[in-house]
């Protein structure tokens, strides 16, 4: 309500300075009050228009009261009942001792409500605050109320801010396009303005062009519509691309640990998804502890969960490697079966400990909400997950390329016996490599807890996708995993609008099946004799 009163003051000021309130305005104002009493929707609408175009000093409180059903009329004076129950004469703003008898609230219907919305827009057009002026112009743009054209043009003439000026001009164009008696040249120019604006609203406005318009106008409109549709399609594609990158980053997170265990070590870890799940449950536990003992730390819960999830999942991974997998090196199919068994055990263990239902993992402040770029809506959690995926990828790459343990890992991968002869403890390296892959899966779990249900089945839903990513990208190649994850994510989201989510996914699976036939070793595969060995 404070906004409204400031609007009012602005309007009053503007009226004094620019619109030269004269006798006509005062008369018009009187006319308006009579119309409020007529108990007819069209009269009420007209009354609103008069108040606005004449820039009546009381316009703001009157319209505000009207909107809230506190404007009383019935032949005599028009009265405002304030929110605290007092009565004010609408015309003068003077307080009244009591309500005159025989008054009833002015009734509203949708047309009146639209009129009110438009009027509030008209009021804001002269607000000293630029942001509010832009908002008001937006409101006018949507209402396309021709009655506001004079106010709009007055405001436009004075406007100095470029952004506000553009908004006002667009509002003016929206009105002009539909206004049959405006000069044709102005209307064509207006179509141009709308085309430049180029969003869904501009499109709707253009489509509202009256059917009886001239041929040249229609042609201009048709061109502008197709132009905007083209641009909007691009934006939509951009939005889908964004969704695709977001999905790609999720896939990358889920698959990159697998790229280590499968790609580097050649171990088929069917329990990989459960490492992700463990990471997600670690996040859940961290948040539970914080909720009960240190609620102030909630915004840091994910930061705390990241290292913990890495350690917990990594340790479980090391235990699996030492306990089971090391007996099965060189027998990939057996490893697959044994780790599948482990995945069943882990799932059931989590189900027993935490119950079979979804667990609530909250989002810290910095991950909530969304913002817009042009026509793109971008949620913070997706953005952070992309950033996180890139960081994890870079860190992993650095570990493999730059650290001594990374060097040892690569040595053991390439020639186990030689590495062993050089004094590398291959068993320890195996365990650490597997732990690293599992730990990274745990990190993925932290991220996924923000966008997916945290349940014992969490991992199951990612395991097939993860394998697809690694196999598609080419085994033993982290960059391949990156490219594959992003390609599959984007392809999935670009297919979805045409094929639907399920068919799109099936199409991708079929594509990968066919792709592997063509290039059995993935996008970026090693070639030569070494591969056969």
């Amino acid at each position: 309500m404070r906004i409204l009163s400031s609007l009012l003051r602005a309007l009053a000021l503007a009226t004094l300075l620019a619109l030269q309130p004269g006798a006509a305005a005062a008369q018009g104002g009187d006319d308006a009050f009579a119309r409020f009493g007529a108990d007819s929707f069209s009269d009420t609408n007209r009354a609103i228009e008069i108040l606005i175009t004449s820039a009546h000093p009381q316009a703001a409180p009157i319209i505000e009261a009207l909107a809230e059903g506190r404007l009383l009329a019935g032949g005599g004076p028009v009265v405002i009942r304030t929110t605290d129950g007092r009565f004010i004469d609408a015309r003068t703003g003077a307080a009244l001792a009591s309500a005159p008898p025989g008054l009833a609230p002015v009734r509203l219907n949708n047309s009146v409500r639209r009129g009110i919305q438009a009027a509030l827009g008209g009021l804001g057009l002269l607000d000293p605050d630029t942001a509010r002026r832009i908002l008001a112009a937006e409101a006018v743009f949507k209402s396309r109320d021709a009655a506001l054209l004079p106010v709009l043009e007055g405001a436009l003439a004075k406007e100095t801010d470029a952004r506000a000026k553009a908004a006002l001009r667009q509002a003016q164009a929206a009105i002009l396009v539909a206004k049959a008696d405006a000069p044709p040249f102005d209307r064509i120019a207006a179509i141009d303005v709308l085309r430049e604006r180029g969003d869904q609203d501009a499109l709707a406005t253009l489509r509202s062009l009256p059917a009886e318009s001239s041929a040249s106008l229609k042609e201009a409109q048709a061109r502008a519509v197709s132009d905007i549709e083209g641009k909007l399609a691009l934006w939509r594609a951009g939005q889908n691309l964004w969704y695709g990158l977001s999905l790609g980053s999720v896939l990358l997170l889920a698959a990159i640990g697998l790229a280590i265990t499968f790609g580097v070590m050649g171990v088929i870890n069917m329990a990989h998804g459960e490492m992700v799940m463990i990471g997600a449950y670690t996040t859940f536990i961290v948040q539970e502890v914080i909720r009960t003992s240190a609620p102030g730390l909630f915004d840091y819960s994910l930061l705390i969960a990241v290292p913990l999830a890495f350690i917990v999942a990594g340790l479980v991974g090391i235990a699996i490697e030492r306990g089971v997998i090391r007996f099965l090196y060189g027998r990939p199919l057996e490893t697959l079966l044994a780790t599948w068994g482990i995945s069943l055990i882990l799932q059931q263990a989590v189900r027993t400990a935490f119950g079979p239902t979804n667990r609530e993992v909250g989002a810290p402040n910095f991950m909530s909400g969304a913002f817009e770029i042009g026509q793109l809506a971008i949620t913070w959690n997706r953005l952070w997950i992309i950033v996180f995926a890139i960081l994890v990828f870079a860190a992993l790459l650095a570990i493999l390329k730059l650290t001594p343990i990374g060097l040892q890992m690569r040595a053991v991968t390439q020639n186990r016996r030689m590495a062993s002869a050089m004094g590398i403890r291959t068993g320890r390296v195996d365990a650490l490599t597997f732990g690293l892959g599992s730990g990274v899966a745990g990190l993925a779990g932290v991220a996924l807890s923000q966008i997916d249900n945290v349940s014992p089945n969490l991992g199951q839903s990612y395991i097939i996708d993860s394998f697809m990513v690694v196999v598609f990208g080419g085994v033993g190649n982290l960059w391949g995993t990156l490219v594959a994850a992003m390609t599959l994510g984007v392809a999935n989201k670009l297919l979805e609008p045409y094929a639907g989510a399920v068919l799109g996914k099936i199409a991708l699976l079929v594509f990968i099946i066919l792709f592997i036939q063509k290039r059995p070793r993935g996008l970026f595969a090693l070639k030569g004799r070494a591969v056969e060995a």
Binding site: L337, Q348, V502
Partner: protein, 378 residues
């Protein structure tokens, strides 16, 4: 022909055949002829349950044929099983006729519910039993042929093949969940009434289905055995152990794999077709990748590379599952199953029968020639 199926029949195989043939007669007899109060009576539900186990045994044999003998670890055999089941289910749905809830003489209930006006073309012909039985073989067989044709020609092997077979069944799972596929979506096909004019629920029908399952298990076993003891079987084992060596001997490895894979898929389809009328429902969950992997563990438990072992594994593991999941131990079944996977792969790579055979041979021949190390089955 009998030479093909019965050549060099070993003791284990003979015992297996005798047992199954005996069951085919004995169990229905105990069900139908012994009065319900008697201690020897076998309830219809128990008989159908064992019928289900024997279907799984046939599925296990089909998987063993490709995995145990040819080294192709298919993680998508459940898909062939389910497709055979759906073919049978479609026949059974058409037999319902106008007895459905909506009384539509042509359309199954779920199609009426979805406001479909006419039968989709791929449902044509399923009102005929011979056609449906042909499809039980043809649909899984064709899918396996096309899939294998691509995969084996481009030499996709080992875990890559396993992963894409898993992707195959996963894709089918997603597809069959869709209502507009025309297979009943999530709910699948159920509420069957008749098979060949006999009530599916009737005791005698159940008994006949059980006997039929035994007959098909015997047939499947004999076919699989005929294949593995033939020279083709030797080639297939050679492919398992040294694929590229076999190729350098002039054998077209892809064709041999394709043959075995397709035969195996048809066999899995038959198992699925027998399964559906005895269980009374087929739904997309049969395509779940987890089911296919479970099938692999049956084979591993029983002993891969021995057909009797695979069948034994199918029955034993599923019997254990029933016992486990019906009692207070139910929540621990997945622990047990998971542990079974780990235990068998690490400590009993040859499975029950393989290990038993080894022990038996050791006792017979105290100083055997060194047995070769098990080669990675890739």
């Amino acid at each position: 022909m009998s030479r093909f199926f019965l050549q060099n029949m070993d003791k284990g195989g003979s015992i297996f055949l005798a047992i199954i043939a005996g069951l085919a007669i004995l169990i229905p007899a105990l069900n139908l002829l012994v009065p319900a109060g008697s201690a020897f009576h076998i309830p219809t539900s128990t008989m159908s349950l064992w019928g289900k186990y024997l279907c799984y045994a046939l599925l296990a044999i089909s998987l063993d044929l490709v995995w145990g003998y040819c080294g192709i670890l298919s993680l998508g055999h459940g898909a062939f099983f389910a497709l055979g089941g759906y073919a049978m289910g479609m026949y059974l749905m058409r037999q319902i006729g106008s007895r459905g809830t909506y009384g539509n003489p042509i359309l199954p209930d779920f199609m009426v519910f979805l406001n479909w006006q006419e039968l989709p073309w791929y449902w044509y012909g399923f009102s005929s039993f011979p056609f449906a039985m042909l499809m039980v073989l043809a649909v899984p067989g064709l899918l396996a042929f096309v899939f294998g044709w691509f995969a084996f020609r481009s030499r996709v092997t080992g875990v890559y093949l396993s992963i894409i077979t898993q992707a195959l069944t996963y894709a089918l799972l997603l597809a069959f969940f869709r209502n507009d596929m025309g297979f009943g979506g999530n709910n699948g096909l159920t509420d069957f009434k008749d098979i060949l004019g006999f009530n599916v629920q009737a005791q005698a029908t159940r008994a006949a289905l059980f006997s039929m399952t035994c007959v098909m298990l015997i047939a499947g076993f004999l076919i699989a055995r005929g294949i593995v003891v033939s020279k083709l079987g030797k080639v297939v084992i050679a492919i398992r152990d040294a694929e590229s060596r076999t190729r350098f001997l002039g054998y077209r490895v892809d064709r041999f794999k394709l043959f075995v894979f397709t035969v195996s898929a048809c066999m899995a389809g038959v198992a699925g077709a027998l399964y559906v009328p005895q269980v009374g429902i087929i739904n997309p969950s049969e395509f779940a990748p987890a089911n296919s992997i479970e099938t692999v563990i049956w084979v591993a438990v029983g002993g891969r590379g021995t057909l009797v072992g695979a069948a034994l594994g199918g029955v034993v593991v599923n019997y254990a599952k029933t016992v486990f999941t019906s009692g207070f131990m139910a929540p621990y079944w997945l622990f047990a199953l998971g542990a079974l996977f780990v235990f068998v792969t690490i400590f009993m790579p040859k499975g029950i029968l393989g290990t038993a055979q080894q022990l038996w041979e050791k006792r017979r021949k105290p100083a055997p020639a060194a047995t070769p190390e098990p080669a990675p089955a890739e």
